[in-house]
């Protein structure tokens, strides 16, 4: 009975993909809870999951506000990185001399530790959201430029020849060949960039802020409210994963052909 075996296989696939990791996660949380309770670990040292959840919900609206702040700082920095990164990648690919000029500069900005740079941004732009958005932008920018440039260079030379021989304009070569070819690389860059952008926003908040999950971590640890710090950390992890998933889903929708053997 092929139909039956097929559906059975589908179920085993689903088990492999979802049930096992979720079960492992639940098991880990239960073990964590049990160990901290049994060994009587102090709450300020390692809080139990139940204490983390309780502390987070206790200040629910406040936590939600901080989450929102970090979320939009991350997204704005990320968006800025796309808006500036893609044209720069085009410039780098299009002109050799421009590439020779810009690339080292990009590398220099990337080589400066953002943690060291963030306080200076604070001096320049104050305590507001802008320096955080800027740090998120700075860390997200590099992978987007590098991967998009790689993608724009990825089509085989014959594909370009094919267009050129038909008297294609530069614009046509970009819109019909280079941009679509670059999409998978662009998305690879976005995946790295979005997770980095979250970290960037948090770095910005660490240095000096009045809101955001990074601020919440600093503030709660300074008062030994470890459960809340853990809660903020978990929320950051969840935010990062959700944003990554959104980019990954967008990639599958935009370039479904990618990764298929040709």
């Amino acid at each position: 009975m092929p139909g039956l075996s097929l559906s059975r296989r589908r179920i085993t696939d689903a088990v492999q993909e979802w049930v096992r990791p979720v079960a492992a996660l639940i098991l880990l949380i239960v073990a964590w809870e049990a160990v901290t309770k049994l060994l009587n670990v102090p709450v300020w040292l390692i809080p139990a999951p139940s204490e983390i959840v309780a502390a987070t919900f206790e200040r629910g609206t406040e936590v939600l506000f901080h989450t929102w702040v970090t979320f939009y700082e991350t997204l704005l920095g990320f968006a800025l990185a796309i808006v500036l990164g893609v044209p720069l990648a085009v410039a780098v690919v299009h002109s050799k001399s421009l590439s020779n000029t810009i690339y080292p500069l990009i590398l220099v900005t990337q080589s400066i530790p953002k943690v060291a740079f963030a306080p200076i941004l604070l001096i320049w732009f104050g305590y507001g959201d802008f320096p955080k958005i800027l740090v998120a932008f700075l860390v997200a920018f590099f992978p987007i430029v590098v991967d998009t440039a790689t993608g724009l260079r990825s089509p085989p030379p014959q594909a370009i020849d094919l267009a050129r021989q038909l008297a294609a304009s530069d614009f046509q070569v970009y819109t019909k060949i280079r941009f679509p070819s670059a999409l998978p690389h662009f998305f690879a860059g976005l995946k790295v960039a979005i997770t980095l952008a979250v970290i960037g926003a948090v770095i910005g908040e660490f240095v000096g802020a009045e809101s955001g999950l990074g601020f919440l971590v600093i503030e709660s640890t300074s008062h030994f409210k470890t459960p809340l710090a853990f809660g903020a950390m978990m929320l950051l992890a969840i935010m990062s994963m959700v944003l990554f998933a959104v980019v990954a889903i967008a990639e599958r929708i935009v370039c479904p052909w990618y990764g298929r053997a040709s």
Partner: protein
């Protein structure tokens, strides 16, 4: 149709050294003629093709299309490469329609022709498939349709069957002959295989290694239409032998793969 007069190509390397890619090429290609170019690897066959279609400037001499010098890209040429080079995000039909888009012609005028071409090469029903769903041979058939869609006068093929297995290769050769007979195109066909060149062509141009020159032009007087069985005729064998000998004499060593 195409006249190549004293064409030479000299590349200048970074340290100023001059590399003679092609020297004094003279060749006349007639209307609807099937001409193959054979020669050792790196002898400038691809360079010659690029100059013919106007993708590469010529250093000296000239190339004429119907008496008119080639100065830029010739849009009345269809090109086929060793790899199919189908765009992976486009369906088979959209790939075939690619030249129509680049030339900014109306889709509607060519849509039916694309379907007809695909049917001719046995890809009827595959119009909406993606390239990765096709075998290598099928992809190359689609690439040939793409080269023909804008009804070019000349088909330029750079080792089009080089990446295919021997069986598929022979099928594709037969297919190409059928298309050539049906659509009456001038074909310039570069290959590594002397047998393939003899079997398909009206004339075989034999080139030498650097500095690349034309060593000989052999007229193949086998009857048309050609069949696979003709490969066992004594005349076929002697053409292959003659061309091999020319290359061996000129080159000292034979670098050709005979299939």
């Amino acid at each position: 149709m195409i006249r190549i007069e004293n064409a030479s190509k000299i590349y200048e390397s970074r340290d100023g050294d001059k590399v003679h890619a092609l020297t004094d090429i003279n060749l006349d290609i007639g209307e609807n003629e099937f001409v193959s170019v054979v020669g050792p690897s790196g002898c400038g066959k691809s360079t010659l093709l690029k100059m013919i279609v106007g993708l590469l400037p010529i250093t000296s001499g000239r190339i004429l299309f119907h008496g008119e010098p080639v100065r830029g890209p010739r849009t009345d040429v269809g090109m086929v490469f060793q790899e199919p080079i189908l765009l992976p995000w486009r369906t088979v039909k959209q790939n075939v329609m690619f030249p129509v888009e680049i030339l900014r012609r109306s889709d509607r005028d060519y849509s039916a022709e694309a379907d007809r071409l695909l049917k001719t090469v046995g890809l009827g029903g595959f119009e909406r498939r993606m390239p990765y769903e096709l075998s290598g041979g099928m992809q190359q058939r689609a690439a040939i349709c793409r080269a023909l869609i804008h009804d070019p006068a000349v088909l330029v093929m750079d080792e089009p069957f080089g990446a295919l297995d021997a069986m598929t290769r022979e099928d594709m050769g037969a297919e190409l002959l059928r298309i050539w007979q049906q659509y009456r195109k001038t074909v310039v066909f570069v290959t590594h295989s002397i047998r393939e060149a003899v079997w398909l062509s009206d004339r075989v141009v034999v080139m030498t290694a650097r500095p690349a020159k034309i060593a000989d032009v052999v007229t193949i007087e086998l009857p048309r239409p050609r069949t696979t069985k003709m490969q066992f005729l004594p005349a076929f064998g002697s053409y292959v032998e003659k061309i091999s000998a020319t290359i061996a004499r000129r080159d000292g060593e034979v670098v050709l793969c005979q299939d």
